[in-house]
């Protein structure tokens, strides 16, 4: 009797153990940066729960650590299956064969349809005509303005560079601690993020930064600083801090992105609006920056199919990106639901329009070097170390060296 019980237990155990073994076959590791919204963690856990035979191991990594950790992992052969990388960093990995070519898998997929994606985000996941990743979300920058101050000064939202300068002059009010404009011209990736669109609006690109339009844009930025229409601290402030001064009513206009909407709706005690980035001339070429991350699969993965399934699962949740995580989907076929705040809804409509003109930084494997050439030039001209033309010529020389021209 006793023996039977033991045998029974053993048999039962081995059955359930067998069942467990049969199910828990695959472990997928995912690395990414997760903000307060816990987007990647949430989706990874849901994918884990939805698949009995797949265990998902998600590791959240801080922004500054993400690329160094990934480089280390590739070097030592310990790369995760899936990673979510900032879009300008993506080409460093895709161009060197570190990422899995998913062109065919995406073409055969019922869930991922590249034709609905915005051009900019999709381009950042491509290298040499092949697709190595799928954009997670997207964002861009446009011009915020303080409606109350503009109305009081009788100024309409500026649509060209000249109008922007005039508006900044009219709105600048040192007596009341109000600057005309604020943005970020910091000496890091944020500075390039904000300045590159201006080069692009004038017909240039990251490969050609010293055209006459780019020089004009940089001279405009310097004029704004020299005439004290903006705080000198735009040179050392990131976008978050600089937009903070706008929210506090200390700047009449600010160049920033949709990630500000919730904070602005809560903090700003005035009426505000958003307009597209001013163009060089009326009706001129539009452009803007493009931010956010791309999903990619490392080429060394042992489970390419399961990893791709996971990415399909994440893409299938695109309609939840905005309502649940305040991320803008990188595709045009998903309508953003109303937030219940008219100002936010209006602003979002402008950002969605601006996204059509958003261009990726790169893609280029040495993007960080190109970016440094651009923000160094921007800062050395704005601080009067060099003329705008000389600074951008220096940047062009550095970029040519990186591009191998």
């Amino acid at each position: 009797m006793k023996l039977n019980m033991i045998l029974g237990t053993v048999a039962g155990l081995s059955v359930s153990l067998g069942a467990l073994m049969a199910h828990a076959q695959t472990t997928l590791t995912i690395w990414g940066l997760d903000g307060d919204n816990n987007l990647i963690g949430t989706l990874a856990a849901e994918f884990d729960a939805a698949n009995d035979d797949i265990v998902v191991d998600f590791r959240a990594i801080a922004f500054d650590e993400l690329v160094p950790e990934a480089l280390k992992a590739v070097a030592t052969g310990n790369a995760p299956d899936i990673i979510c990388l900032d879009n300008p960093d993506f080409a460093m990995f895709s161009s060197r064969g570190a990422m899995l070519d998913i062109t065919e898998m995406v073409a055969a997929s019922d869930i991922i349809d590249t034709s609905v994606y915005y051009e900019g985000p999709l381009a950042s996941a491509m290298w040499d005509g092949k697709l190595y990743g799928v954009p997670k979300a997207t964002n861009t920058i446009a011009l915020f303005y303080n409606k109350d101050l503009l109305d009081a000064a009788g100024v309409t939202p500026p649509q060209t560079w000249d109008e922007l300068l005039e508006a900044a002059r009219a709105l600048n009010d040192p007596e009341n601690n109000v600057y005309g404009l604020t943005w970020s011209a910091k000496g890091n990736e944020e500075g390039t993020f904000q300045f590159l669109p201006w080069i692009q609006m004038s017909g240039g690109s990251f490969e050609e930064v010293n055209g006459p339009g780019a020089v004009k844009a940089l001279e405009l930025w310097k004029t704004i600083l020299d005439e004290k229409l903006a705080s000198q601290d735009v040179l050392s402030q990131g976008q978050w801090d600089s937009t903070g001064t706008f929210n506090a009513g200390n700047a009449a206009m600010a160049i920033s992105g949709p990630w500000e909407l919730n904070r602005m709706a809560a903090d700003a005690t005035f009426d505000w609006g958003v307009t597209l980035l001013p163009t060089e001339v009326a009706g001129g070429q539009r452009s803007s920056a493009m931010g956010d991350f791309n999903w990619g699969i490392f080429a060394t993965t042992e489970h390419p199919e399961e990893a791709f399934e996971a990415i399909e699962f994440f893409v299938a949740q695109s309609d939840r990106l905005f309502p649940e995580f305040a991320n803008i989907p990188p595709r045009s076929d998903i309508a953003l639901p109303s937030t219940g705040d008219a100002r936010k809804d209006e602003a979002l409509a402008v950002f969605v329009e601006q996204l059509k003109y958003a261009q990726p930084r790169g893609p280029h494997p040495d993007w960080a070097k190109i970016s440094k050439a651009i923000y160094d030039a921007m800062q050395s001209a704005m601080t009067g170390q060099a003329s705008a033309q000389d600074a951008l010529d220096t940047a062009q020389a550095s970029i040519d060296a990186v591009l191998g021209n």
């Binding site: 160094p68 480089l71 990995f93 000496g187 601290d233 160094d376």
Partner: protein, 300 residues
């Protein structure tokens, strides 16, 4: 066998064992990484060879690249300025404070102890605090200076290309002041009081007593403090990311920050190693001064 044991437990063998242990740790923890760094500065490194030892040879290409960078001379100048002014400020103010607290007035030792607060704080925190103090539009220092009528409009300490490096130097002087003061206080306390009494009886002025007694008696302490100050200043990294990030336009960038930027922001590890090789020149000077000054200590 027995002789060997005796030698190891008490004799020449024991000395060799001690020296050997120290040399082993020195080689393992400092020598090999240093050599690895030297090697890497002559190699091409990419993400697939990051973990290897044998990589494509680059010769002097990395050095040529670094020397050809537009910011090279600016960074070198900043490093020299940062090192010299930080050390001078820390030393002069530290010496002044050490002598001041030597006067043994009421509460002197308590206040001297409180000065150590700056030294125990992490560099990132100190950088954060000074960032607030030196902020442009809403900085505390600007508010005080404006209140006193010294300036009319805010000084942009962190964003003005002529001032940014000074903002970091000021913070670094504050950070290293207590350490200098403490070491110099110890040196001062070790000088026999009767020397001063005898000199006073002979009619020596305060300046003469300082020049002919304090300074000569403090020579080895001063040498050690300056050498440690040089090392500490060259190691000072935290203040830069916390305050200026080397900007604007690299006007506050120094070699140690540039090396980090090259390795961990531009992911060019070989050239990051190359920049840190250039720092060896500075560090060697520190090592020579330090060894020379402490050698006198052992003999004396």
């Amino acid at each position: 066998m027995k002789r060997l044991f005796i030698s190891i437990s008490d004799g020449k063998g024991f000395d060799i064992l001690l020296v050997g242990l120290a040399m082993f740790f020195l080689l393992a923890l400092a020598g090999i990484p240093l050599l690895y760094n030297v090697l890497m500065s002559f190699q091409e490194v990419d993400m697939f060879t990051l973990g290897s030892f044998i990589r494509p040879w680059a010769g002097l290409d990395n050095y040529r690249y670094i020397f050809a960078q537009p910011e090279f001379w600016l960074v070198m100048k900043n490093t020299a300025l940062f090192v010299f002014c930080s050390m001078a400020g820390q030393f002069v103010l530290g010496f002044g404070l050490a002598i001041f607290f030597q006067q043994n007035f009421w509460g002197a030792s308590t206040i001297r102890g409180l000065f150590l607060v700056s030294w125990v704080m992490p560099g990132l925190v100190v950088g954060g605090i000074w960032s607030f103090i030196l902020a442009g539009d809403y900085g505390v220092l600007n508010a005080i200076l404006e209140g006193l009528g010294i300036i009319d409009e805010p000084v942009f300490w962190k964003s003005d290309p002529d001032l940014a490096i000074w903002a970091v130097i000021i913070a670094n002087i504050w950070l290293g002041l207590a350490f200098n003061m403490l070491l110099l206080s110890v040196g001062l306390a070790a000088i026999p009081r009767d020397l001063y009494e005898a000199a006073e009886l002979d009619g020596a002025t305060a300046w003469q007593r300082f020049r002919t007694i304090t300074l000569p008696m403090m020579r080895s302490t001063i040498g050690a403090v300056l050498a440690l100050g040089l090392i500490g200043t060259l190691q000072q990294f935290d203040l830069f990311p916390a305050m200026t990030e080397g900007g604007p336009a690299n006007t506050s960038s120094v070699t140690q920050y540039w090396a980090w930027q090259m390795s961990f922001k531009q992911y060019d590890f070989a050239r990051g190693a190359t920049i840190s090789m250039l720092m060896l020149v500075f560090v060697f000077m520190a090592a020579i001064v330090y060894v020379r000054s402490t050698r006198g200590e052992v003999r004396g």
